[in-house]
């Protein structure tokens, strides 16, 4: 599985992030956002298990895939169309722990949907995060459209779209890649392949090993990268982003990853995954692996680690406290914004 990684680790070595053009600050920022995504998620499960909130859907295990790829984009200028696991992506793009907790508790102040959608249905026009619903794979076509608009206005913004390997089975995925290929749109397709669509293993979803192989059928490159190697994710995405910004068209990046939790708080993954399998992947936790690297590189020292832990915990505590107290919508809110503009009929 450790495909591209090895090479990358070869070059660079202990100062690999610098050779990728990342300052120590940037490298640590990536680490902190991964930690924050994980911490918010863990807290949500805690609260859910205490019966204080009905639903969680997790990023745990996929933070490397998410933050590593998002870090190659320009938040607020570039666009992202994330899917429900992409806490790491939207935190990098400017959402906060508080925003997440507000949507977790479905409060009126939830910036994604004012408490209308389930947690994980991200969206913010201001932050250039395209709103997502529940139907999978639709966002790939939205991303192609966002990129088409950039091309029409001769802007060099890049649009990154995220989806699971299960969603790659949908017709929309095919139609989006085909369209982006034809028009050489500035889209980066990021497939987070965690091996399962809820309970359905990859072997029942496709007859191939790598979703990335399909890119050839659309006339653009496809690459496979180890999602537990956050710097490798950053490197391939940076190349894809540069290519897209140059006007050379899309890239399909398949990130091999794994979800540590059940599909959601409504799922029981013991029905379809072996405990050993989960355990073996937890061994490869992208956060621990990156922490080890940063320590070896001398970038992450104990005091810095403590600071980060302290900041992350404080954000999660404050966010939880704030959101749990925050007001709910009122029944009158039910009927607003069916349309942006109510016709005066």
């Amino acid at each position: 599985m450790a495909l591209k990684t090895t090479e990358v680790e070869a070059k660079g070595g202990r100062s690999r992030h610098r050779s990728l053009g990342l300052s120590d600050e940037q490298a640590l920022r990536i680490y902190e956002v991964m930690r924050l995504a994980r911490a918010v998620d863990e807290r949500m499960w805690l609260i859910n298990r205490q019966g204080r909130a009905p639903f969680v859907i997790s990023c745990q295990g996929q933070e490397g895939a998410q933050v590593g790829t998002a870090a190659a984009l320009r938040p607020g200028y570039d666009w992202v169309a994330p899917y429900y696991r992409d806490a790491g992506v939207i935190l990098w793009f400017g959402m906060t722990a508080r925003d997440q907790m507000l949507s977790f508790f479905a409060r009126r102040e939830d910036p994604n949907s004012a408490g209308r959608q389930m947690p994980g249905h991200f969206g913010s026009r201001r932050l250039h995060i395209v709103t997502g619903g529940s139907p999978v794979a639709t966002q790939l076509l939205h991303a192609a459209g966002v990129a088409l608009a950039s091309k029409q206005r001769k802007e060099d913004a890049v649009t990154a779209v995220y989806f699971g390997e299960g969603s790659a089975s949908q017709g929309d995925t095919h139609e989006a890649m085909n369209f982006a290929g034809i028009h050489k749109l500035a889209v980066v397709f990021v497939c987070e392949n965690n091996g399962y669509a809820i309970s359905v293993p990859q072997s029942h979803q496709m007859a191939i090993q790598n979703v990335a192989d399909r890119a050839a059928g659309y006339g653009f490159p496809g690459v496979v990268v180890d999602g537990n190697d956050v710097l490798a994710c950053y490197e391939v995405t940076r190349q894809a982003v540069e290519r897209a910004r140059r006007g050379d068209g899309p890239t399909l990046i398949e990130v091999k990853t794994y979800r540590f939790t059940a599909h959601s708080s409504d799922d029981d993954d013991k029905r379809y995954r072996k405990a050993e399998e989960v355990a073996s992947w937890r061994q490869k936790d992208p956060i621990h692996r990156y922490a080890t690297y940063l320590r070896d590189a001398g970038t992450l020292t104990d005091p810095v680690e403590e600071e980060i832990t302290e900041r992350v915990t404080r954000q999660v505590d404050e966010a939880t406290e704030y959101a749990e107290q925050a007001p709910d919508p009122t029944p009158d809110d039910l009927t607003t914004f069916v349309y942006k503009e109510e016709p005066q009929a």
Binding site: P54, F55, A106, R107, S113, G115, R116, Q117, M118, H121, G133, S134, P135, V136, G166, S167, S169, Q170, G171, D172, A197, I198, S199, V200, H204, Q205, M206, D266, D267, R271, Y272, D328, P329, T330, P331, D333, L334, T335, V338
Partner: protein, 327 residues
């Protein structure tokens, strides 16, 4: 005769039909090992194997399109759509293909297939795990649409659907899965498609409903009785072809009708029921037919206050029913 939940009745219905007819098979997302996200197919994968319980890729058009082809070639597929809210990717295969196969070949081809879809709200499912889809599909000629509300009807109509030579959209209300329990006759009992059922006799007014709303309307009738109002409750059970005779009969009998559904109001099933009564029982009406439905907003929000604001409830229906009784 034993008491079962709607979910148990559905699982049993599939199990019995699969045991009875080797051409019956299941295809859908997570229907195998996982037993379905609601466990409706729990145990069937072990019992019937991977050729008859197929975990499909995550692609609804594929699920339905493949079911169509299998039905062409002698099988009787049961296609499961994980949530009714995710049926739209299969819309082309359902309304342009499945619904029109028989007509466009003047009967040379017919499709004995069932599309099962868990629907409805009140389960904290938010916009995309709460939708009602009956009006959208009932409008399409060539489809049959059923929406049982009790365990006995759930099992009997599922058997009828599986044995039917035409495509049947079988709607199972998620909230009723475990909430609604009832006696289920033993043995091979089939409930005919196209027949409504008077679940409670009454003379002052009629409540017409289906799915979860049936349970609510029966409670409403109980409360009305306590106040001396005798309400008849007609369970449509089949949405298409609708039981016009039963609708007209109850309208003529009581002269006052309240139609209830969760689905959005505009051009919903209630409108059709009102049109049928307008055309066939106008002179027997003592008051205009009323409807109590979900509002015209896109399904239920996640927040519980908004969800409650959307969902019809016994209390809300009762208010409307009293208004009708008093009119």
């Amino acid at each position: 005769m034993a008491v079962k939940t709607v979910l148990e009745a559905i699982r049993e219905g599939m199990d019995e039909e699969m045991a009875r007819d080797p051409s019956v098979f299941l295809i859908g997302e997570d229907v195998g090992n996982r037993g379905g996200v609601f466990l409706a197919t729990d145990g069937l994968y072990k019992k019937y194997g991977e050729l008859r319980v197929i975990d499909s890729p995550l692609a609804e058009s594929c699920i339905v399109g493949v079911a169509i082809g299998a039905a062409v070639n002698g099988m009787r597929p049961i296609a499961e759509i994980q949530f009714a809210d995710f049926i739209a990717p299969a819309m082309n295969q359902i309304i342009e293909e499945a619904a029109r196969f028989c007509y466009r070949t003047a009967g040379d081809f017919n499709l004995p297939m069932v599309i099962r879809a868990p629907w409805g709200g009140g389960v904290h499912g938010a916009l995309y795990h709460s939708q009602s889809i009956e009006a959208t599909f009932a409008h399409i000629p060539g489809l049959k649409v059923v929406a049982p509300g009790t365990p006995a009807d759930a099992k009997g109509l599922l058997k009828a659907a599986i044995r039917d030579p035409d495509p049947v959209l079988y709607l199972e209300h998620k909230r009723t899965y475990r909430l609604v329990k009832g006696e289920v006759p033993d043995g091979d009992r089939v409930v005919p498609i196209g027949k409504a059922d008077v679940k409670r006799e009454g003379k002052d007014l009629s409540l017409i409903a289906y799915g979860l709303m049936l349970t609510y309307c029966l409670e409403v009738a109980e409360k009305l009785a306590a106040e001396g109002v005798s309400a008849e409750v007609l369970d449509l059970r089949t949405i298409k072809p609708i039981d016009q005779a039963a609708i007209v009969a109850t309208a003529r009998k009581t002269g006052k009708v309240l139609v209830v559904h969760e689905d959005n109001r505009f051009a919903g099933i209630a409108a059709e029921v009102m049109a049928i009564i307008m055309e066939n029982a106008f002179d027997s009406l003592d008051a205009p037919v009323m409807r109590f439905t979900g509002p015209d907003v896109p399904a239920m929000p996640f927040n519980h206050i908004l969800e409650e604001a959307f969902m019809p409830s016994v209390e809300k229906i009762l208010v409307k029913a009293k208004e009708l009784a008093a009119s």
